[in-house]
Assembly symmetry: C2
Homo-oligomer: 233 residues x 2
């Protein structure tokens, strides 16, 4: 029943963490928190993406057990990545991390919760998105969820994401126009749409003309883009 122990397998194989966070205080706090759990074979924390990709370790001194041998740093299994980094931003770093460690779980850990950052990160291939105000217990739980093959999003982030799937609140289009727009998105041409709906091609054309006017577009390509982007269909 204890939520902190649920799903916590008896120390799965070696599992390596990498923290990329420029703020020294937060970085060391995270480093300490995650080390203390004893759940991870390695916790490495660096201050920027360049260092992470180069293999260096900012807080190496905080790891008494490690030798000074420049171990060829095995791939991390999970990366906690800040967005607001000096130099290469977390968003720019995402694809590079993905290329460097294809099997690593890349989790954003940032203060930003605007749509821009969230969807940029997800579209760049982030496997999760946590906010920095996540309480320690929940952060640990989230990382366990990721280790178990799941993904995680802070509730505020999940809200943005679920909202993004919702159909447009109010479409400027009539029911008939929406119906025709859907067929247009399927690539059907005037006559074909007409056959489906038992209309003349002329009528379909008028409808599409009205759709273009209402959506402020001038071509099928733009109409399809807007229809899919704004979830009009």
């Amino acid at each position: 029943m204890d939520p902190t122990s649920a799903h916590t397998a008896p120390e799965a194989a070696s599992y390596r963490l990498l923290i990329v966070e420029d703020d020294a205080d937060i970085r060391q706090l995270l480093d300490l928190l995650l080390r203390r759990t004893g759940e991870y074979a390695e916790v490495r924390s660096v201050e920027d993406a360049e260092t992470a990709l180069a293999g260096g370790s900012t807080d190496a001194a905080a790891t008494p057990g490690s030798t000074d041998a420049p171990a060829p740093d095995p791939a991390p299994d999970l990366v906690l990545l800040d967005i607001g980094l000096p130099g290469m931003s977390g968003l720019e770093a995402l694809p590079k991390f993905r290329a460097a460690w294809p099997d690593a779980q890349l989790i954003m850990l940032t203060i930003r919760q605007d749509d821009q950052a969230i969807f940029d990160a997800l579209c760049a291939g982030a496997d999760g998105y946590l906010l920095k105000d996540t309480p320690p217990e929940r952060l640990l739980q989230a990382l366990r969820d990721v280790r178990d093959g799941g993904s995680v999003m802070s509730p505020a982030v999940a809200r943005r994401v679920t909202q993004s799937f919702k159909p447009a609140a109010q479409s400027p289009l009539s029911a008939r126009e929406t119906e025709i727009l859907a067929l247009l998105c399927d690539g059907l041409q005037y006559a074909a749409i007409g056959e489906r709906l038992f209309l003349s091609g002329h009528t379909v054309r008028v409808h599409i003309r009205n759709i273009y006017r209402k959506l402020h577009v001038h071509s099928r390509a733009e109409a399809v883009r807007k229809a899919l982007g704004d979830r009009l269909i």
Copy 2:
């Protein structure tokens, strides 16, 4: 620090739950679990969507405090909705619930974790998606997150969702073709694309022809649909 008390405001205003679940055992278990917290002004549980929308209560007998007056059932603030319901499915019920209670949070609580169910539900306007194997403590935490304005997804569900944002693993298109496809999605025509890329319209046309062949489409509309749907751009 206790994760079960974090974010739990001192009994916010009245907050009503509605559970729609056909399995009597599960329904009563949920009902009991949620009532016991004392966090909710009302916990109503019904066995199908029709009953929920009609205002009836299957487990009314389990609510000793309630009178037999047919109260005009105030709108619930949060609905836990199963998908595999007898009669109207949870997916069909979603829009009706949304229409009946525009401000309610509609959270799926189901055993299904296939892409079909998940994305159907989200596209139909679900505010969250939890799996039935969610441990009780985590279910309660999730509902608190929802009450606080967030959304929730079980890790396995969140995984599917985050994956859906990732760019296509391997596109059949060359870099140049991808570039041209992007401009095509913007609604530009041959000549305009050519101007942007310092190409002749003829060349653009050949590229687009090749794109069509590789994507198995025959029109701009289909190409745009596929490009956006498969995240080729």
